[in-house]
Each structure stands twice: as C-alpha cells, then as structure tokens.
C-alpha cells in the first residue's frame, strides 16, 4: 500500500502527525490512519481552552465502521480546532495532512518534542502494523 509520509512532519506511534511552529503544534492523523479507519463521518473535537497531557485522549474520529482516538502528541492547551473538518469530516480522508488538520495546540512542555518520532521511524511503525 502506498501511503504518504511528508518528510517535514513529526509523528507519533499512535498515528498523529505534528507540524511545529515555535510553541504551536498543528495536529492531524496520518494517511495510514485515515485509510485504516475508512470513510470518516464524524470528528469529536476537544473544546477550545481545554488543557490535556501528552498521550491523553483529546477527541474521537468516527468512521462508518470504527472509532479512533485522537491522542495528544504533546501536552498543552487547545487553541483552535478545524471547523472545516467538523462540517466535512471526509476532508480527513481526502487531505489528512493539509485541509484535514484536526487541532492546534499551544505547547506547555517544549522538551516533550523529543518524544515525537521521525518520518523514518514512523514508516517502520506502519510497516510493522501492516504485517
């Protein structure tokens, strides 16, 4: 299977991607994740202003047949969620890295960035899950 793995992004083993811009992180789910889920029909976004710890459950992504969790890649405050995705959840399928971004976090612990994995490491995660 050919999945997209943008090189400029960081990743998590739970299939989120992170685009870092100083102390703001833009977060979404990967091409592999959207493919595993299938047609996405609903995204449960976290509330703006809520603060979550890294690895906690920030929301849910529902497809026709499955429910996936959105896991916080970094600790911080939710400062924005993608209203386009709320109205058109299928954007996460068609454009997981661009139009289908999920939320923006104001990072509270910069050192946690070290826990994110590189694109090469993430590709290995996907390969092992595909076996």
């Amino acid at each position: 299977m050919d999945y997209k793995f943008p090189k400029e992004l960081k990743y998590t083993v739970t299939h989120e991607w992170v685009l870092l811009e100083d102390d703001i992180a833009i977060v979404g789910i990967t091409d592999f994740a959207q493919h595993q889920l299938g047609d996405i029909v609903y995204v449960e976004m976290p509330d703006i202003g809520m603060v979550f710890e890294r690895e906690s459950n920030a929301g849910e992504i529902e497809s026709v047949k499955a429910v996936g969790e959105i896991i916080m890649p970094l600790s911080g405050e939710i400062i924005e969620t993608n209203s386009k995705v709320i109205d058109n959840p299928e954007l996460v399928n068609s454009s997981p890295f661009e139009e289908g971004w999920i939320m923006k976090i104001k990072i509270s612990h910069k050192d946690e960035v070290e826990n994110l994995i590189t694109v090469e490491e993430y590709i290995k995660v996907v390969e092992s899950e595909e076996l």
């Binding site: 299938g38 029909v41 449960e44 026709v64 047949k65 429910v67 299928e90």
Partner: protein, 360 residues
C-alpha cells in the same frame, strides 16, 4: 478454526477489498469506500457477494404442510414462481431466523437463510420434520450467490439474461440464462432499491461475476450492505430480531398470519401479542446533537432507561446518523425526545418515523 472463502474470494482480493471474518467466512467489508459503494447502489447498481448465505432445497409431497407448520407467514399466499419472506419462530414467538422461500413447484421449495444461522436452521428443520415426507438438501456450499441492486439494475441485467425481466414482479423468480450460464434469479433484495438476487452453481461464479461487473455496476461489500439495509429499515438477525425478540416487537406485524385451522410453531404467543400489543417496540432514531448512533447504546427518557439501540450508524443518503432501537411501548411515539448514551456521554435525540429510505 479456518475461515471459509466464497468462490469470489480471489476476485475480491484482486479488487483490493478489505476482508473481514463474518459468520465463519472471509468477506469483503469494502473495496475502496463504504460510502462510495452505498451511493453506487442508490444511484446506479452494485454487486454483492452473498455466497456465505445458506441455500436449501426442500422436496417431497409434504413440503407445503411442513412449511406451514414451521413458518409464521401463510403459504396459501404463495404461488409457483413466487417467493415469500418469513420468520421461523420458537414456541415463545422469538425468532430462529428470517428467510425467504421460493415455490418452484408445490413439492419443491428453495430456501435462502442467514449465513450465521445455517447450522441452527438445518437442525431445526430436521428436528421438526417428524412424519412429514420432506427431504432437505443443503446447497449452501455448492452454489454461489450474488445480489445485483440499484435503480439501473433492470436495464443493465436485461442485456445479459434471456428472460423478460419486466415480467418478473417483486418477489417472483425465474430460472434462466445469464449469457449461457444457468441461473436462478429472484426480484428480491436487502438494499431498499430495485434489484435481484441470483444463485447458480459454483462453476459459473467467475463468468457471472465478470458479466455483471462489465455492466459498470460497482462491487459493494458488507459495510455498504449494512448501511443500505439500515436506511431501508430491514431487520438484521441478532439485532432487530433474535431469539429474544419477536417479529411483533420488531414491527413485522404483517408477517404474523392468523392461518386459521393451521397449527404453526409460535402461533398462540404471536397471535396474542398481535391482538394485545407488545411491551416494547422497534422505533427509528435520530440525534439532535452531534454524534453517531451505535449498536447497543442505552436509550433514556427523563433519566430512565427505556430501551437500547439495535442498529446504529451513518446514513450516506440522508447525510446524518440514523438508528433503530427497541423501546418501551409507552415511550415510543414519534417525536418523543430521548437521550442515547454513546460511549458514556448522553446525547439528545428523538424517535422518528421509519423507514428512512425506500425506493423499491
């Protein structure tokens, strides 16, 4: 235990289908997109592999009487070349299986049953044959089955078969040829669209699939099959009907026939329920807030649980979440506001009219 494969397994794999275990078989849940396949059936035509289902032949001079005894529907309403949907019930009125039987001759019937109930149904038939002169032959694995469903199914199929499809009314069937391949074809279906269900010997599987696929119809998997039948509000065994739910609770009043002078299993309980009503009844569900209704979610009214969701999901046609639920009769009126507990969160919803969609 190894999962069984239908004769179309390799074809599904070649088309890139995602295969999942279902009733002991490896079946395609989707090829590329459940929603796309669903929409293809609503707008054009779709092909479903239903070879996992059961197919029996019942023959003998007592078949008619035997079926009258074990089925709740009335075979006096049947005729040669016609099929009938029915439930087979226990003494207490709950359901063993829902199925369709077709009268080929007065002493030869073809029966199609749910994949999940094949062994159970065969056992029930054998346990109740008694002195009836009936022979049951299990053709489930010897024959393949496909459903061809959609508003364009008549036009597309007519080019392939040597019988005038306009002469086959709903629930009627014929034996004919699909480009030299002998088939059994019935105007029945589980999608809420016009369409057909076809059965044939396994050796014709590849050829028949190929011809159907060449019409431009879209291969559709179990995911779309479920979202389509949910929109049409057709019962799924184990959900709307089961060994704890009677056909009347599932809203299938018309299936329970008086059959005067004929004894059938479950008759007493079912006719009593039909005249007195049931304590719980199947209703349609929508949400008033965001979310997706899911199977087994509890349904509340003023903080009291009044029932549960039998089937829930997303409707691509209506572009919203829909569901069916079994609720207490006194709270089952249309527009009753309720709350559905979806993964620990109470979401506001209401009871709505069903079916959500039919285009038959």
């Amino acid at each position: 235990m190894a999962l069984k494969k239908t004769p179309f397994y390799e074809i599904h794999k070649k088309l890139g289908a995602r295969m999942v275990p279902f009733s002991g078989f490896l079946m395609p849940v989707q090829y590329q997109s459940i929603i796309e396949e669903h929409e293809a059936v609503r707008n054009n035509a779709g092909i479903f592999d239903i070879s996992h289902m059961g197919e029996f032949l019942l023959e003998g001079k007592d078949v008619f009487d035997f079926l009258q005894y074990i089925m709740i529907n009335d075979l006096n309403l049947l005729e040669v070349n016609k099929g009938q949907y029915s439930c087979m019930c226990y003494d207490n009125g709950t359901v063993i299986d829902d199925l369709v039987y077709y009268e080929e001759t007065p002493i030869r019937f073809r029966m199609i049953v749910n994949a999940s109930n094949i062994e159970k149904d065969l056992q029930w038939l054998h346990d109740h044959i008694g002195e009836y002169d009936v022979k049951v032959t299990n053709l489930s694995r010897e024959r393949s089955r496909l459903a061809f469903q959609g508003p364009n199914s008549d036009d597309l199929l007519q080019k392939l078969v040597d019988v005038d499809l306009t002469q086959i009314n709903r629930f009627y069937f014929s034996h004919c040829s699909l480009k030299e391949n002998p088939i059994f074809i019935a105007r029945t279906g589980y999608t809420g669209e016009r369409g057909f269900e076809i059965s044939f010997e396994n050796k014709y599987a590849e050829k028949v699939w190929g011809h159907l696929h060449d019409t431009g119809a879209t291969p559709a998997g179990l995911g779309a099959r479920d979202s389509l039948r949910l929109e049409a509000c057709y019962s799924l065994y184990g959900h709307e009907i089961s060994n704890t739910i009677t056909p009347l609770e599932a809203g299938l009043f018309w299936l329970v026939k008086p059959k005067e002078g004929i004894n059938y299993i479950g008759k007493e309980v079912l006719l009593k329920q039909k005249s007195q009503g049931t304590e719980r009844i199947l209703v349609g569900l929508n949400l008033l807030e965001r979310g997706i209704i899911r199977d087994d979610c509890k349904i509340f009214h003023n903080s009291n649980q009044i029932g549960y969701v039998t089937s829930g999901g997303y409707s691509p046609t209506l572009k919203k979440t829909i569901g069916l639920g079994l609720v207490e009769k006194q709270h089952s009126k249309i527009n009753t506001e309720i709350e559905i507990e979806i993964r620990k969160k109470l979401v506001k919803g209401k009871i709505v009219e069903i079916p959500f969609y039919r285009n038959v």
